[in-house]
Symmetry: C2
């Protein structure tokens, strides 16, 4: 067997993973990241975000060949024309994607070969808040439920441990459950 084949698990190069961890342990300044998004309003509920550059490991990361373009919208009942998922649905996607990637990386590090990871997310919202009809109702989701279905070559207990550990380490899970300070500046033209 080749060394490469041995180190890749769940599509994650575990040798590179451990190398990254060792590099950051030796120089914690490498862990300072900044992610970015640029959004432009198009019309009505249609707006578009471009994502490409970010800061990592003490420099601007220019490794991405192209920018990503992501469109948002609203369904008809919320006065849009379905030009994309709505912002709250994108938030559920961000949470699902982060928990899943964390799960896959944790499994790779622990020697668990996964065969299937699926999740369904539901967020309950009383839109009286966001529509300005009630100050007693919050604007955002009241609660979010995540249901994972996970299969792999480990006993059920170990698979559950991997999911629990992923939850403890997911960036977006932390953001969504604990909140983050956000500042908003405005320039008018």
């Amino acid at each position: 067997m080749s060394t490469t084949a041995d180190t890749i698990r769940n599509g994650v190069d575990t040798a590179q993973l451990y190398g990254t961890l060792d590099a950051i342990k030796a120089d914690p300044t490498l862990a300072t990241f900044q992610f970015r998004a640029r959004n432009r309003w198009i019309e009505g509920a249609h707006n578009r975000t471009t994502i490409r550059d970010f800061y990592a490991a003490n420099q601007e990361d220019t490794s991405r060949a192209e920018e990503f373009v992501v469109d948002a919208g609203e369904p008809a009942i919320l006065l849009g024309t379905d030009t994309g998922p709505n912002p709250a649905e994108y938030l559920l996607h961000a949470l699902a994607a982060c928990l899943t990637t964390s799960l896959v990386y944790v499994a790779a590090a622990r020697g668990v070969h996964l065969t299937e990871v699926e999740s369904t997310l539901e967020g309950d919202m009383d839109v009286q808040g966001a529509l300005g009809l009630s100050d007693e109702v919050r604007n955002g989701f009241e609660r979010i439920r995540v249901s994972f279905r996970v299969a792999g070559d480990a006993p059920e207990e170990k698979l559950r441990e991997v999911v629990a550990r992923a939850q403890q380490r997911s960036a977006v899970f932390d953001i969504v459950t604990n909140g983050v300070p956000v500042t908003v500046d405005v320039a008018t033209a």
Copy 2:
């Protein structure tokens, strides 16, 4: 001038907007929404979310002709192959999109014609948290900065009021700044 042209502002049908608000005032049960996302792991940091159905106004909403498909990934430095923006970047997109749509709707309701809405978002993260290298560092963003550039046919003060009001009503701004309870269930196969 036609009535239709009069009621559409910033691409938002304000007659429909006020009709929706009146309908919910008359029957607040119409405000109960549930948004959903389904995610499937593909390989490594690559996973895919599909979004279509949701619950609104006391029924399943089946108005969307097609499902939306959204791919996530990670850049090379985070062991991925750029199969899409990463989950933290999608969270910034969700926040930008929600603030922008709120701003556009508020402006429409207040008679402000917008000509430009752009925003840049930056989120600072020390990845020692998410990588499990430090328990003193949080996993998610330490802070998020949003910079809006807004132009329209209203005085600067009114444009700033519209942005402030959008912030007070944005669902994702509420979620990201205040947090939401999340439950995670696991089924193994």
